[in-house]
């Protein structure tokens, strides 16, 4: 199949993913909106008002707790939804066996992967925009570095889409796609500096926190929105790029060998 045909195939998967997201919006778009609204009410308005200033922003302006956690909450929603979209969608395709529609077609493995990752990134984007809009009801959001914000969003969504793809490839039953989000993703997100500044942690927890990749994504995204970060941006980008390349190679290798897909 030529390059144009491959793009048509990729676009077909991405379009099908978007249609699925919109068809079951009450399962894909509504829950993060409700959850994040509760986070903003409880942690932002009720508890946050007693915490006070978290950092000094650009020009020395104080950053309130609710402002501080807003970027982390948006990033948390993006990560969880990019991951959740690809695991549930690709595993369903495996479970109902309609993944075979793609496997018997001439489209290359990279187009299958790119199509599903595009779908996951688009769900992350939709949810991110919804949570951003909700946050505007509770606090002011400035876009100090829009390119940093957008690139961090994109890299984080791709990383967790690729991780979700690996999970879906190996999953044999629906329980297998719930284990990683529950026991790995959620703890890492909560410990990734969404609700607190890791610099305030005592040793060795401060150093251990730096092993958590989500810390870098949350802080880079926070830098894009607020202009402040607890970590060096260069490290954040290096780590995110390394994850994208490493996971991309892993996914392609799994697809090429047909792991979990071809007997």
């Amino acid at each position: 199949m030529n390059a144009h045909g491959n793009l048509v195939a990729l676009g077909t998967i991405a379009r099908r993913e978007v249609m699925r997201i919109l068809r079951i919006w009450s399962q894909t778009l509504l829950p993060p909106a409700i959850t994040m609204t509760l986070y903003f009410i409880i942690f932002g308005s009720l508890i946050g008002s007693r915490i006070g200033t978290m950092a000094q922003g650009i020009g020395g302006a104080p950053i309130s707790y609710i402002e501080y956690i807003a970027p982390g909450l948006i990033m948390m929603a993006v990560i969880q939804n990019a991951y959740g979209n690809i695991t549930s969608s690709f595993f369903s395709a495996k479970f109902q066996r309609f993944v075979e529609e793609m496997l018997v077609s001439p489209m290359p493995s990279w187009a299958i992967l790119a199509g599903y990752v595009t779908g996951a990134v688009l769900r992350g984007f939709m949810v991110g925009v919804i949570v951003l809009a909700i946050s505007l009801f509770f606090t002011k959001i400035h876009l100090y570095h829009p390119l940093v914000m957008l690139s961090t969003f994109l890299l984080a969504a791709v990383i967790f889409a690729l991780l979700g793809f690996v999970n879906a490839i190996y999953a044999r039953k629906f329980d297998d796609i719930a284990i990683i989000p529950t026991f790995v993703l959620t703890p890492l997100t909560y410990l990734g500096g969404v609700f607190y500044n890791v610099a305030q942690l005592p040793s060795p927890w401060k150093e251990i926190s730096h092993l958590n990749p989500i810390l870098y994504m949350v802080n880079a995204f926070r830098y894009g929105l607020l202009g402040v970060s607890d970590i060096d941006l260069t490290w954040a980008y290096l780590i995110m790029f390394a994850f994208v390349v490493g996971l991309g190679v892993l996914c392609m290798s799994l697809l090429h060998r047909g792991v979990g897909l071809r007997s």
Binding site: M1, N2, H4, G5, N6, V8, A9, G11, T12, I13, R15, R16, M19, R23, S92, A93, Q96, R97, F98, E100, E101, M102, L103, V104, S105, P106, M107, P108, G258, R262, S263
Partner: protein
């Protein structure tokens, strides 16, 4: 003497072997050739290796050894070109039950790089031909079993394949729908598409297919033309329904009669034997035959004998 190059076969399978991770040896060196334009039967009992063979041809199963070529393109080294030629109707329902037939067909075309406007026109054409157009926008899980089977055929036609593989496409489908499906597939074959069929309805294979391979335990046990295979059957068994009950069985030379019940007897005889003489002998003893039928269709009888090892197979490739 003609210098024209030999036509490229639709499918060439050479010494194909497959051993699963569980240690099960599903294919033990299968070789066969399906010529372009053929209507080809691939038969065998459950677990013979048919679905594994089809899985390897359609790249859903990785072979352990051997090669498969589709119109000259190797499934291993030229997968994309080979898959472009194939349409697959699998044994199990394998589409998204929450999508509509129209979306399923249009998306399938998209996976082959076909633009949406072309795909929509094709989907309409095939859904109409298979009497599914009025269900084009229904959710597929609400379709009947026969409709789901026809949808899988429409989906397989979206890339207008040169080789259509049908893996038990009529399983569980009523006779009326089955006949309409065969009519459609016969039309596709007449238009030039090579068709490979696996089915447990052997009378259909006998009616539709020109060449046949029977496999069992992962090996080819017969590979010839349908005509040659059927000519091997030298004995036929008929069931006679009698007008009046009988107590005992008469004796007729070179014919074996078996008493089934008071109104029914089985008549086993050589194909060379004259049926008129059987009727005359029965009539002379006051036994009137109301109706008669074959106990099993001819291919079914041969199939059972081959699989049970009661008839010598050639085990050779078809010409």
């Amino acid at each position: 003497m003609s210098n024209a190059p030999a036509p490229v076969p639709a499918l060439e399978v050479a010494d194909l072997r497959k051993t699963y991770a569980t240690g099960v040896e599903a294919l033990k060196g299968i070789s066969l050739i399906v010529q372009a334009g053929d209507f080809y039967a691939l038969l065998g009992p459950n677990g013979a290796g048919k679905s594994t063979l089809i899985g390897i041809v359609s790249s859903l199963v990785n072979p352990s050894a051997g090669d498969v070529r589709v119109f000259g393109h190797s499934v291993r080294s030229e997968r994309s070109a080979a898959m472009q030629m194939i349409g697959l109707v699998p044994q199990e329902i394998n589409f998204n039950l929450f999508e509509t037939p129209l979306d399923i067909c249009v998306n399938q075309a998209g996976f082959y790089g076909i633009e949406r406007d072309v795909a929509r026109a094709r989907a309409e054409k095939y859904l109409k031909e298979l009497a599914l157009w009025d269900k084009a926008r229904a959710v597929t899980r609400t379709l009947s079993g026969g409709m789901k089977r026809r949808l899988m055929i429409a989906r397989a036609m979206m890339n207008e394949p040169r080789l259509l593989i049908l893996d038990e496409p009529t399983a569980g489908v009523d006779i009326e729908i089955r006949r309409s499906m065969w009519k459609f597939i016969e039309g596709i074959n007449a238009a030039g598409t090579t068709v490979i069929l696996t089915t447990h309805y052997l009378e259909e294979a006998e009616q539709l297919c020109r060449n046949i391979t029977i496999i069992d335990h992962g090996q080819v046990i017969e590979n010839t033309s349908m005509k040659k295979l059927l000519s091997k059957l030298d004995v036929e068994t008929f069931v006679f329904d009698l007008a009046n009950p009988i107590d005992g069985l008469p004796t007729i030379d070179a014919v074996k009669l078996t008493h089934i019940d008071a109104h029914t007897i089985e008549v086993e005889m050589s194909r060379a034997h004259d049926l008129n003489s059987v009727f005359a002998a029965l009539s002379a003893r006051g036994i009137m035959v109301n109706s008669m039928r074959n106990k099993a269709n001819r291919l079914e009888e041969l199939f059972v004998r081959l699989v049970e090892g009661n008839l010598g197979g050639t085990g050779k490739e078809a010409a």
